[in-house]
Symmetry: C2
Subunit: 236 residues, 2 copies
């Protein structure tokens, strides 16, 4: 997405810095500030790791100028139905519309205290709402920027996302472990010899439920083998 994050009338340098950091985390470098306190902007530049985003941030006197080159303008709101003057999409669906859009997209965030003014919203094609709890809908500015940008990159490159690629133990490895363990349990006196079929089945299923990797199976096998050896020497 060719996205510009537009902060309108942000007052708090910590919030501007936090927004910039989230932009850097999720790979959206283009920040625009409208009607920002210059002092706040200058202080924000010290935010951890957000340097590049803030260095290239652009400052505008009016919202019109800040969004002039954008082909889709989306406002954010915590209200779920602000008099129904604008179409409101939940973040999940709104993000899908933004991702599908070709042209530069402006995503607007209002001031910490009041959110976007109605006149700001009138510049928007539609509004976007993070599905917060009705009892406490209003989010911290940096957090709402984070959540919106996360939703925009959500699932991107997800095919690469696998849990640790440690190979599952083979049936042969699991069976070897099962047999060793049964042996050890017998030798230790936990099981009576000859081992009952039901107990064997119970143990076999238990080991399969553990969902062991080859590595863990090998590790356990080594432990059991050592125990077996020790049990053997004791009995001799």
């Amino acid at each position: 997405v060719d996205l510009r994050v537009v902060l309108v009338a942000s007052r708090n340098p910590l919030n501007i810095g936090a927004a910039a950091r989230a932009m850097s985390n999720f790979g959206f470098p283009c920040l625009r500030l409208v009607n920002a306190y210059e002092v706040a902007f200058r202080e924000a530049k010290s935010a951890v790791g957000a340097g590049a985003v803030l260095e290239t941030a652009e400052v505008f006197g009016t919202l019109e100028n800040a969004i002039a080159d954008c082909r889709l303008v989306v406002g954010t709101t915590s209200a779920s139905h602000r008099e129904l003057k604008h179409p409101i999409w939940r973040l999940e669906q709104g993000a899908r519309l933004i991702r599908r859009h070709a042209g530069p997209v402006a995503l607007l965030f209002g001031s910490e205290k009041f959110g976007l003014a109605n006149e700001d919203m009138d510049h928007c094609h539609w509004l976007l709402r993070i599905p917060t709890r009705a009892g406490h809908p209003s989010m911290n500015l940096g957090q709402s920027v984070s959540v919106c940008l996360y939703e925009l990159i959500r699932g991107r490159g997800a095919s690469r996302s696998k849990p640790t690629p440690s190979a599952s133990a083979s049936a042969e490895e699991l069976e070897r472990l099962t047999v060793s363990l049964l042996d050890a349990l017998e030798k230790s006196g936990y099981l009576k010899s000859p081992t009952s079929g039901s107990m064997t089945g119970k143990l076999r299923r238990l080991i399969r439920r553990m969902n062991l990797s080859t590595r863990d199976s090998t590790l356990l096998q080594g432990m059991v083998r050592q125990i077996l050896w020790r049990l053997g020497t004791r009995q001799d």
Copy 2:
């Protein structure tokens, strides 16, 4: 999800407050602090709107005690492969596993500077990673809490999520508008009378592309009617 958010060794009262606010926003009230600076905790209590969460927050001396009653323990990390000692799931998939889990689930966040220590991670069934950019993976604490909790409630109640439910204009309304507009364009001299079929088709398609609601169609119809009336009085 029966979730406990566990902050381990958090240092900054603003971050504790921000985490609590996100929890309130997304409806997860149970906060546990491990090894927190008491001062930071006390200061955090003044965070906007996070009062209830912080009032009921529990403080523990050790991680073991903080997670004792949990049946799934999940750590968060910004590293994408911390020596592969733990299975790591991307947030999208990890959240699905958490949602499916029955018992109390602990979601652990480490300190602002160092994240979770290796010994903390050893208490985890698996780790969860927010898919941040490789060039700048480390997120602000409050923001990463926000994003994780958002993913957990994502899509919940989404069926209720419709854009503003204003009815689309009926074909009849659109056609009435088209005819009025053609009339006005003729009377104004923009179109030559008799209007060419191709121009009529162009205008008809344009109006359909606008995707008008009944309300907007009615509004436009009123405008055109007024213009028509004015054009009529001028010509008379």
